[in-house]
């Protein structure tokens, strides 16, 4: 399949998801696709991992690579792919679109925990599925996105490779749809224009225009010939993690504003955790900055 066909398919899926102008339909469509995220689990099983080593690695966090600029970029990109500023905009606007109220908070928390557990399971499965490549010294430097599935074919078979490719397509599709909608929500917030997936096209013209503009721009970037897509993905996620501390501090202030939150202000333990996350992310960002503009200081701090 040529790359443009994949981009057109993703755009068609986006249209299908929002065409009813109902958040409910959009959410169900996306969840139906997101289930395919779990295809990485059978792929991981096909890779026949050494479960003893897997257990040891999960418990001890070893082996860890040394501190280098490349490692730092990978770690930051991993964090940036997991906790991102756009999620804040998405989460709060989606909560309103879904019509959730105070009585739904408990179910919302269960939703979050189940979602996080499933996402972590899929992430671990993806790492296990690609482990045979790394064991043979084949890394992201050798492949671009979908080529991973082709490279895995001799190791896990045609079925496993096809499942892996399906998982990659699903992940990309869900991300592109969610992030473009999140951008449209954020634009609506900032520009004070109507922004909801429940709006008919006539009333939400700006919202839907931003949504499709973001998706089309992303699709056009992907189609640029010779663009190192893996590097772009890493860099985008690094930018996301660098933008996280200001967004988190803003959220922190909002969650502690009694006028806005009433009796639902953030508890002390959550504030301590948030402060820890903000400090960690800011320090990681500063370390990345040092590694780029002052490699000698980075080396002095133990970096390679």
């Amino acid at each position: 399949m040529p790359p443009w066909a994949a981009v057109v398919s993703a755009l068609a899926f986006l249209c299908l998801a929002v065409i009813t102008h109902r958040y409910w339909t959009w959410e169900r469509t996306l969840l139906a696709i997101a289930v395919f995220n779990l295809v990485f689990v059978p792929v991981a099983l096909l890779a026949h991992p050494d479960w003893h080593s897997v257990g040891r690695a999960l418990l001890t966090w070893k082996p860890l690579p040394g501190l280098s600029k490349d490692t730092l970029i990978i770690v930051l990109a991993d964090i940036g792919a997991t906790v991102t500023p756009w999620m804040l905009f998405f989460q709060q606007s989606a909560t309103v679109d879904k019509g959730l109220t105070k009585k739904d908070i408990h179910l919302g928390r269960i939703d979050t925990v189940v979602g996080a557990a499933l996402a972590a399971t899929a992430a671990v499965a993806t790492i296990l599925a690609t482990a045979p490549l790394f064991a043979r010294h084949m890394t992201a430097e050798n492949f671009q996105a979908a080529e991973f599935a082709q490279a895995l074919r001799p190791l896990i078979g045609r079925f496993g490779a096809a499942l892996f490719a399906l998982g990659i397509v699903e992940a990309g599709m869900v991300a592109s749809v969610t992030i473009s909608i999140s951008s449209a929500y954020a634009f609506g917030e900032v520009a004070r224009r109507p922004h909801s997936l429940n709006l008919p096209m006539a009333e939400g013209r700006v919202f839907y225009s931003v949504l499709f503009l973001c998706a089309v721009t992303a699709g056009a970037i992907v189609l640029i010939p010779g663009l190192p897509l893996i590097y772009v993905v890493l860099l985008v996620n690094v930018v996301a993690v660098l933008a996280m501390p200001p967004a988190l501090v803003f959220l922190f202030m909002l969650a502690n504003d009694r006028e806005v939150m009433g009796d639902l202000v953030s508890p002390t333990w959550a504030n301590i955790l948030t402060t820890g996350v903000v400090v960690f992310l800011a320090l990681a960002g500063i370390l990345f900055g040092i590694s780029v503009i002052a490699p000698s200081i980075f080396a002095f701090l133990g970096g390679k």
Partner: protein
């Protein structure tokens, strides 16, 4: 007219609830307008937010520099 009134009285409480429930999402979406006035920030809050703005701009410059290094 009398027949209309009769029909109107046939709408049960459960039906009314159903209609309100189905309209609720749109109503909530319509309510997504700023109802709370802009907050006046204190000194420390202003300092933290401005520090983070400067941090963000500086870090974006670092990322651009990293891309420049990568492409050269």
């Amino acid at each position: 007219m009398p027949s209309k009134d009769k029909n109107h009285s046939l709408i049960s409480f459960a039906d009314q609830e159903l209609v309100l429930e189905s309209l609720e999402r749109d109503q909530l979406a319509g309510l997504k307008k700023p109802l709370i006035p802009r907050r006046r920030l204190k000194g420390l809050e202003k300092f933290v937010l401005w520090s983070l703005r400067i941090y963000l701009i500086f870090m974006m410059a670092v990322v651009v520099y990293q891309v420049w290094i990568g492409t050269h």
